[in-house]
Symmetry: C2
Subunit: 203 residues, 2 copies
Amino acid sequence: MLTPEKIVAAALDVIEVSGDRGLTISALAKRLGVAPSALYNHVSSKRDLLILVQDDVIERIDYGCFETLPWADAVRQWARSSRDVFATHGHLIPIYAVIPVTNSRAILRMYETVAKGFLAAGWHEGDIVHAIVSIESFVLGSAMDANAPEDMYDIGDLSTEFPVFSSVVAGTREDASGRADVAFEIGLEGLIAGLEVWRSRQQ
Amino acid sequence: MLTPEKIVAAALDVIEVSGDRGLTISALAKRLGVAPSALYNHVSSKRDLLILVQDDVIERIDYGCFETLPWADAVRQWARSSRDVFATHGHLIPIYAVIPVTNSRAILRMYETVAKGFLAAGWHEGDIVHAIVSIESFVLGSAMDANAPEDMYDIGDLSTEFPVFSSVVAGTREDASGRADVAFEIGLEGLIAGLEVWRSRQQ
DNA sequence: ACCTGAACACCGTTCAAGT
DNA sequence: ACCTGAACACCGTTCAAGT
């Protein structure tokens, strides 16, 4: 007998073996030893399936830090964790970005804790959603960037045609963690600092 | 006779009429009055087609501001323009985020100008790519958010279960431009200010 | 060189038929 | 209530055949 739990577990297996794009209804059915049409007794559409998967995946994000750490540290840890989770589940990004929160208790649990953290740090109620959304926008964009090839900005033959950018790319500071990680950390520190400045101006 | 220009123009027509998801090979072929297979004489894959479309769309982004405005103003204008363009062409986001820049002269032209602007503002060569990527990550994430429903954060029946977030949503400051725009502007100002602070610490 | 038309291997989804 | 098997309307893509 199929259950939501088994379906989600199998879906995650399929993703782990075949990647994001390998998660199809028939691949999932095969993994479960069942006909594709059988799935529609438990799930009304593929979008519905992805929401189930998402609910499971969201729970791997570390947001408990908002109950233990100061605001900036909590934001940093939450953002890093979110970005990691979405980088390994890029297919969920387009859904997560536009799904009404009512559809997912997992998301609401997260936001409940995050919102408390913002309030405890002295944020005005009216600004919190906007601040959260801006952080998440950066996180989701960065998660996509994390899947870009390491040499994404290598210019090849066209370096004489674009000398300035070419030289900037050649001189790009790197460290062991890789280009995307450096960009993420720089942007994250900037955003956190900037939000803190912005907040203090709001008083 | 089909030409790349005609194909791109027709693709943009199809998108305008049928939306992002309406751009299929057969829809495009029908619009051009040609068999679907004919397109493969001019384009090697759908991905290839989307790169052609992207090249056209990138040129609508305003990056000339880097030649006329101070750094912070130029970044602000460039980011706003980019976000608008990608919000109306969301299907290009997953490609743009991971495509090696060598594949697109339009992108390289943009980066050439942007890089010059950063250098003129005194940025170190080694930091520029990272700063650009962080801005673009925020822009792409925000472009996805711009397509979210306006009531994305309305909680409905579950407000007693998540009282804090519920109250935060209810108290969210809004103005005529809408939720996503406010979040974008707040994050953008934060990111710009934060990058400026971060840069001055690098000296 | 470029286009047609048929074919292929896939999608997600529906639905009558069985148990 | 749940599953099967056949069918449907779509994808992107290939390729022999025509001009």
